[in-house]
Amino acid sequence: MMKPVVVTLKNISKYFDDHCVLNDINLEIQHGEFLTLLGPSGCGKTTLLRLLAGFETPDQGSLFVNQKNITQIPPEERLFNMVFQSYALFPHMSVFENVAFGLECEKKFTKAQIQEKTLAALQRVKLAHLANRKPNQLSGGQQQRVAIARAIVKEPLILLLDEPLSALDYSLRVAMRIELKELQRRLGITFVFVTHDQEEALSMSDRIVVMNEGMIEQIGAPRDVYEEPKNLYVAEFIGEANIFKTEVISASDKKLTINIADSHLILNNNKNFKTGDKINIVVRPEDLKVWGRGEIKDEEDMLAGRVEEVIYKGSTVDLIVKLSNGQRISASEFFDEDDENLEYEKGEMVLVRWMTGWEVILPNENNEV
């Protein structure tokens, strides 16, 4: 079900000097969703967030809130609030004063109302008992919560979060993900979250906007983006991916035949590829199944290779396998009932195969090999 759209970005472009930071961005932000802007540093995601906040104005294009053009409205008049990357808490004010600051600016609340709303926001983030502390007396995680409380107390139309978890250590970061997601659900506020961490993006978002060099590569639910990447960039940026560059030997309506490292494989032809088309086949490491030479009798349509590296990861064993054509691929094997002791030796000859249909076939437009 489509949720109603609250914010629309139309043909937004932004240049710093002559460098194009955002290139013709079109995006609709839906009411109540958790939207993540994902991309490497320098891809324009933070600029896009600052543009939403009003700290930057686009060189081209417009920004609409419920059909109203707000492109030229300054940040202090926008109904968006931001959680800054390093929190940007006011060091000379107590936690309470920090959170109350935004309400005082509105000049429409009485002292009692400010008191009440501030305490409610602090209770939401479980910090009411620290209201009189100064920010430098708090831990990183607590400062983070103050920053969130300070923004949500304004009941913003959209909460903007600029890599808010990047300063925390790993276990706290994982805990905060769950907490943030839960908070978002409870408040029903639209979250626009910026991160370069794909794991964060996958675990928290309703939709992910994958960005690269100022452009949007793909917009979709985490599962779509991971399982059906639109292009090679998305496939490689989100999760690990093995990419086989090859060409279609023969194609029919339903099936196509290809050749990887001297093995003929028959795959589903869902995207109307024709004989001779250059393609990239994307297979996730966890979709690759690895057998020892002795376990298999019929070696046809399997890829033969030699184990180069065995990496034990607790829940999985990751293998780096060198195929007969020299390409290195990575495979994650899970411990399960069928295979309780996954034991591979370096140098062991193995056979590799994935379930037909688990691959993603992308056209290789640039004909790179």
Partner: protein, 283 residues
């Protein structure tokens, strides 16, 4: 071990230096202030409080009052000029900032006495300013600029302004601009941002600048002499004239001690007022 020895050596050296050139002279002045003198002797070994009793004479109150007034006015002017100046310097970029800082430092390459003479050539009756105003037809007779209290104030402000700008500059420079973004994001207008964020966070700079301007303004003796003429006698001049013209060393010593006590009182009030962190930053 060697490093430790060097550390003790250098600390002891500084302590000796301070004892020889600050503590002992101060003690000598303190002792002198309780002694008498006559026309043929600079000091007489004879204990007296009379040098301090003089201070209850109205003329001394008047001098103290004039000195205070000049210092307060000078500090306020320096703050009003220095704060925006420091802000502009701290917020400008690259080579422009370096240029501003250089322009601030260049006057220090010349003695402030010489710079005060330079002011003299601008302000005197047939000086640059009067000539310019006459040439432009704005005035028809030279106006009295020099030997007025305003001239003294201008010269003192000119000499002490850098001491206000530098601490303010280093404070504003450190100010995290993301805090200003955050305040805007929360709906604060320009006035609110200044009052609630910038002013409190630059208070250490304001305090440091105020002390660095206010205290010297009380004692700069040559500026009132050169620019103010004989008319404006301030505390600094009083000390000078007691020592060098009236040959009243005990009197000059007593005035110096009173002045020192007064400044200690100001620093004490400041440290009471500025809590914890601000005090550390000042030191």
């Amino acid at each position: 071990m060697k490093i430790m020895k060097f550390k003790y050596f250098s600390i002891n050296l500084i302590s000796l230096w301070l004892i020889a050139l600050a503590t002992i002279p101060l003690l000598l002045i303190l002792i002198t202030s309780f002694l008498a003198h006559d026309d043929s002797h600079l000091i007489l070994w004879h204990f007296t409080l009379s040098n301090y009793v003089y201070f209850f004479h109205p003329i001394y109150f008047k001098i103290l009052w004039l000195s205070l007034k000049l210092s307060v006015n000078c500090t306020i002017l320096c703050l009003l000029i220095g704060y925006p100046a420091a802000f502009i310097i701290a917020r400008s970029h690259g080579s422009l900032k370096n240029l501003f800082l250089l322009l601030m430092i260049i006057p220090f390459w010349t003695s402030s006495l010489i710079r005060t003479y330079a002011i003299l050539t601008i302000l005197k009756t047939k000086g640059l300013l009067n000539s310019a105003l006459l040439a432009l037809g704005i005035i028809h007779h030279p106006i009295q600029l020099i030997y007025t209290n305003t001239a003294v104030l201008v010269a003192v402000v000119y000499n002490l302004l850098p001491f206000m700008i530098f601490p303010l500059y280093s404070n504003i420079e450190k100010l995290d601009t993301r805090l200003l973004d955050a305040a805007r994001d929360l709906g604060a207008g320009k006035i609110k941002i200044f009052k609630a964020i910038i002013l409190p966070l630059t208070m250490p700079g304001i305090m440091a600048g105020t002390l660095l301007v206010f205290l010297p303004a009380m004692t700069l003796f040559y500026i009132p002499v050169l620019v103010g003429g004989a008319k404006s006698l301030l505390l600094g001049n009083l000390v000078e004239s007691q020592f060098l013209e009236m040959h009243n060393w005990p009197g000059g010593a007593a005035t110096s001690i009173v002045l020192t006590l007064f400044m200690l009182l100001l620093i004490f009030i400041y440290t009471r007022f500025a809590r914890g962190k601000q005090r550390q930053e000042l030191l």
